[in-house]
């Protein structure tokens, strides 16, 4: 016969998780209060000051040693690097000015090209007109030549002093 009143095993996993979550929450709250407090800020500032003072002393000592050996320090090289950067900026300034000038130049060149194209088109038109006129002149010249030829047939010709008159028919 099964017993419905048999004692159940305690859920150790759930209990452990509950304890864990409560501990973590407590720890987080403590950490948050500590970080936001003035004492933490002051303590951090004091330890930072101490470290920086010590570190600065070490750097200055190393720099003095290098100067004594007449060797360039990292600071010297950093200043040179900054000067190189400044020179590069001047080059970029010049490049940008050139770009602007180029843009203006290209725009004005395009206007000039359009003007020249219009003039060339006008010249071609005039050339066509001249060709037409020339053709007309040549035609007229040919007609004039033909007329003169006809006139020459009806006038007396001079043959070494003998004037021969042709009888008019």
């Amino acid at each position: 016969m099964t017993s419905t009143n048999a004692p159940t095993m305690p859920d150790f996993e759930a209990a452990w998780k509950q304890w864990r979550d409560l501990s973590v929450e407590g720890w987080s709250k403590m950490a948050r209060q500590m970080v936001e407090g003035e004492m933490f800020t002051s303590a951090m500032g004091a330890s930072l000051d101490w470290y920086l003072t010590m570190h600065k002393g070490l750097r200055q000592g190393a720099a003095a040693y290098l100067e004594m050996l007449d060797m360039p320090t990292r600071d010297d090289l950093a200043r040179i690097a900054t000067q190189i950067g400044s020179a590069e900026m001047r080059v970029i300034d010049c490049e940008e000015r050139l770009d602007l000038l180029e843009a203006v130049k290209v725009d004005s060149l395009q206007v000039r090209v359009s003007e020249l194209e219009a003039r060339a088109a006008r010249i071609f038109e005039l050339e066509d007109e001249m060709a037409a006129r020339l053709a007309e002149i040549r035609e007229n010249q040919a007609r004039l030549d033909a007329a003169l030829a006809a006139v020459n047939q009806n006038v007396p010709t001079v043959n070494k002093g003998n004037i021969t008159r042709r009888k008019k028919s």
Partner: protein, 367 residues
Amino acid sequence: MKTPIEEATRTYKWLGLMSGQSRVPIAQTARTLVYSRDRIQLFKYVRETPATKPVPVLMIYSLINRPTILDLLPERSVVQQFLAAGHEVYLLDWGVPDGLDRYAGLDIYLNLHVRTAVRKTCQDAGSEKVTLFGYCMGGTMAAMYAALHPRRIHSMILLGAPFSFRSEQLLYRWGGNPATLDPDKIVDACGNAPTWAFEGFTMLKLDQKAPRAVALYDNLHRPEYVRSHLAMEQWIGENIPMAGAVYSEFIKGCFQGNRLMDSTMYIAGRRVDLSAVKCPVLLVMGEADHLVPPETTSPAAEVFPQATAIRFKSGHIGLSVSSAAHRKLWPDVLAWLALQQPQIGLIVARDTPGSVRRSCLCRGPLS
């Protein structure tokens, strides 16, 4: 209920993952190198199909971490979103600064590096203008650049970018107080701002460290969760140093002086006036962003002449990597960008002096 052996195995696996030895491949989208100058590199992401949008996108990230967050995993990649929308995508990778960058300030970063990157992007893409995409400090720098050199900027998308550095959030209480943070002391002692100078960001969410570890333990049976967790931890561990001059200039000018909003910030003698940015600007803010809370971004919407603002329920990093952002936020961002594309007219690119190359014929007003 798990057996003791199963629990032990699980704990062993969890400890292995927590040790930081396991790595997953991140930033896997193929890209080619367009230009490099020392450590600065300009990459172009490889497209499988021809671009359908004429204006290329140039991504500018923060100087604090690596830009791999923009392409963390294939299903959580901002780069892939832009590629899928038909854009040519370029990334300006700052590299890892060293001692030679000690005196590189905002003048060098903006007027040399960003300006060169914009020119090279225009040349390579055959476009007169670019769309600038800036994330976090990269967004602030992108806006500064556009204020100084507006000619080649078609539009801007600024994601979690601070402009007004006044907030009750812990980061601004720490960074905005010269008594708490003196950048000149750090730079004086170390040259560049070292990697540990940015551990403060981790401290801001110290209370989340333990819950994240517990969540990893509870989700060990989900491979995609584990992969995502590892990818994030890898990126978080990739903090890089910052060039000394730009660190000092940014902390003193922006965090402590808050000079950007009242236009009293000067770079190489030129005033940075955000109201001179005439192009369309999209400001994207995370409502739960503890690093760049909305109150540090929204004032810029009043200053930029053509600004649109989107608020999304997300934290700072979630804007770029959360699955919700990739489902809901990025389609809206890309739709906004599609509306800004030129519709009618001819885009003419001059890639070398004296030459004119017609890149595409499309419809829309030219600006």
